[in-house]
């Protein structure tokens, strides 16, 4: 695993995530959200789970980001900026980050390097999905159908 690549990707991801969390202008924040997910997908590629990384790009950037952008368009009344920022959120977030980092650094068993594993092919994921994980797969299908129908019913305007 490449150290230089890791540093570049982590800087990109954290910067884009911070931009998405703090930018005033709505559209810029939504687009930096998409960039942050490109960074997370790059992390997945670095860790050897390419299928998950590609699925992330497909789902988040291809669909969720477009949904978010459309919703921003449909729910604005000539305000382009997010008014109001609650500073207590910053304190809580920093506190949570410090707590988590302390816990991670304290655990000695976590400072290990990546062992060599077999490359994870799509074939293995497919086999696992169809044999050990077939029940969760069917449940996810039902869940997605329910979410689709639910979202449509919620947004549909009633016919007069």
């Amino acid at each position: 695993m490449n150290g230089a690549a890791f540093i570049v990707i982590s800087i990109l991801t954290l910067a884009a995530a911070l931009a998405a969390a703090t930018l005033r202008k709505l559209m810029h924040a939504a687009l930096s959200f998409a960039v942050a997910f490109v960074g997370i997908a790059a992390f997945f590629f670095l860790l050897g789970a390419e299928f998950v990384g590609l699925a992330l790009v497909f789902i988040y950037i291809g669909a969720v980001a477009v949904l978010i952008v459309f919703t921003i368009l449909l729910t604005r009344r000539d305000i382009e900026k997010d008014r109001g920022f609650n500073w207590s959120g910053v304190i809580i977030a920093v506190a949570v980050f410090c707590g988590l980092t302390w816990a991670i650094l304290k655990t000695a068993s976590l400072s290990i390097v990546a062992p060599h594993i077999r490359a994870l092919t799509v074939k293995r994921i497919g086999e696992a999905l169809m044999t050990s994980y077939v029940w969760p797969l069917q449940c996810i299908g039902l869940l997605l159908t329910a979410a689709l129908i639910g979202a449509l019913v919620l947004v549909m305007e009633e016919k007069r």
Partner: protein, 105 residues
Amino acid sequence: MTPTLQIFLIVSAALFSIGLLAALSRRHAIFILIGIEMMLAAANLNFIAFWRFAPKPHQPPVGVMLALFSIAISAAEAAVGLAMVIVAYRHYRTTNVDQLDQLKG
């Protein structure tokens, strides 16, 4: 410098706290949803990092499966959440969560 598991976990903790920041301090409903999505993504990163650094490889790859299902669930939740934001906007004509307080005692 090869990154150890600790460094991955710290990055994922940073991402999680940035998502928490977005969810707690933003006043626009959609950005709270964005914060939630980022927190879920940080958790997915954790899953995959633990799968990768496990001393003995599992068969089937549990961490990867969990991350895949988590992505699917978060997409469904984003869709429904955004639909609700649109409906709330239609009714209240605002997306500022400070003003969506009709049930306040």
